[in-house]
Amino acid sequence: MDEVYFDHEGPRLFSATSRSGRRFLAVAVDEDESSETYLYLPVSDARFGEIRSGALDLRTAFREPEDGSLFVVVADYEQPSRNRVSVVSPDEVAEDWLPLEGSRLQASTATRPVITAEALSLEASQRGRAMLAVELDPADIYRTEYPLRSLARISRGIQDAVDALAQEAAGRATARGAIPESILQEAELAFVESRAASFVLVLAPTSPPRLFEASLLVDASARMTELIEAGHDPESLSRLLAGSGPRARAKYRAFLEALQDDDSGASFWFAEPNTPPRTATLRREEVRGSLELLRSTTTEVREIELSRASIIAVHLRRGTFELFDHALGRRYAGYMEPDARLEIAGLPTGDQYFYRATLLAEEQYSETTDEVFTEHRLRSISERTETGNP
């Protein structure tokens, strides 16, 4: 027996491995006075990972066994010598013995090798190269996979924050305009591989290490790790933010918002060759706290109240919105905070429906020009009760 997923005075849904190494998923289907009957589904490791994580529903798994057959095991407790094991095709299995349509296990399942801070440190020493690992742990991801759209946003958030912190580490921080090429080159990260668990981005500098001199990437990564760690302690975070320029604050904020929108925390492990790794963790609930503190201690974020807005478009999957404010005749678009995403789901769009909405207007800095532009986030939305929407 490997794992039990449901137990009621005995395992009723479980995985097991035979002496020959064959793995099965088994479910209790029937019983009488003296016996119990189980369906055993032989599974490969890859198929097992899909079933365990919920990517493949249980009914489909039992209806479409990889080998084309299942085992019916009848355990006879009155006469153990009459225990029976029979091979059956899925068509021969009573329909009601199968799991219901759409039923899933949804257990967090590492589908890539697991990495630890110590293993990363060893790898950094072996490669002779600094390594950075960022662990993400969104609530609704059960495999070592990450939606590409979200991953792109988070990866961008990491690199932008590291760039801005590297610029500060170089003593050449600017709020506007492009970051000098030499700094970008030294702070540039490469994606090396993904690891478990839940989902770990393993990164390394693209530029060769500078000998006898601390690299900007090391300094920037150390600073990023400090910011993450300070998420536990508002006083420390306030102090660190006060010592950061507007660009670094804005980029770190954008990274935290990407985490918040994915309902994920983050752990940072930074390892240099032959040096103990530095680690820091920001739990999901601390992401929100760090963001609130960041917003409250800067002038770059302000709240906007809309009293008569219509929804032009909503993309729940992307987490984006577009509103039209009838009072000022302005359009607003951007990402939605998780609460707003729940509130807006199902609300009708169109000019005939009016809502109250609260937005955040956040200053952001262009990577290529001196331009400072404003990004909007939807914090909350509700129907205007007094206008009598149709």
């Binding site: 039990v4 395992p11 094991v85």
Partner: protein, 183 residues
């Protein structure tokens, strides 16, 4: 034919070995319940078991970490019962004393001396989507008080509200069927 825990021909429940018992006995005996081998402590014999084979709990059972229960719990009972009916005495036979199942005769396994109860009824509803065996059972709610034994959380590998409940009072708890069988 009687079964013994070490009968090599016996399929242990589902046929490939035991699961719940792998970690038992886990701890020292709980001082509130005592144990069979502890001198000067009260031997536990539930009323429902008084006229049948005595369940000899192993040393260290229940574990010292078990605590008195308090609140509403849920468990599976006979699928013949209807909503509002009370499960009969037959529903309170400890797994170790049942004629079948991986716990039958497994007197050395502490968990086999306990009933399965769930703090969250949704765990049982979810299990119904997985297993016809579960769908064939009714769901009963029961009120457990602190003088009714000891309880310890024993979640499955994906985490649920499963608890092992070692009853101390022989009277069956107040229980009523809240959901009928689906099959």
């Amino acid at each position: 034919m009687s079964l013994s825990a070490d009968d090599p021909d016996r399929i242990r429940g589902p046929g490939l070995g035991s699961a719940r018992g792998v970690s038992t006995p886990r701890h020292l005996a709980h001082p509130a319940l005592g144990c069979e081998t502890c001198v000067g402590q009260v031997r536990y014999i539930p009323k429902t078991m008084a006229n049948s084979a005595t369940p000899h709990r192993p040393p260290g059972c229940p574990p010292a970490t078990a605590a008195p229960p308090d609140g509403t719990f849920f468990r599976l009972v006979s699928g013949k019962l209807r909503v509002g009916e009370a499960p009969g005495d037959g529903e309170w036979v400890l797994p170790v004393s049942k004629p079948k199942g991986e716990c039958a005769g497994a007197t050395d396994r502490c968990d086999c001396h306990a009933h399965s109860v769930f703090a969250d009824v949704d765990d049982l509803r979810r299990a119904r989507t997985w297993s016809q065996w579960v769908r064939s059972k009714a769901i009963a709610s029961l009120q457990l008080r602190s003088d009714m034994g000891l309880i310890e959380a024993s979640p499955s590998d994906i985490g649920d509200s499963h608890n092992d409940w070692w009853p101390i009072n022989g009277d069956p708890p107040e229980a009523l069927v809240v959901e009928e069988a689906q099959a």
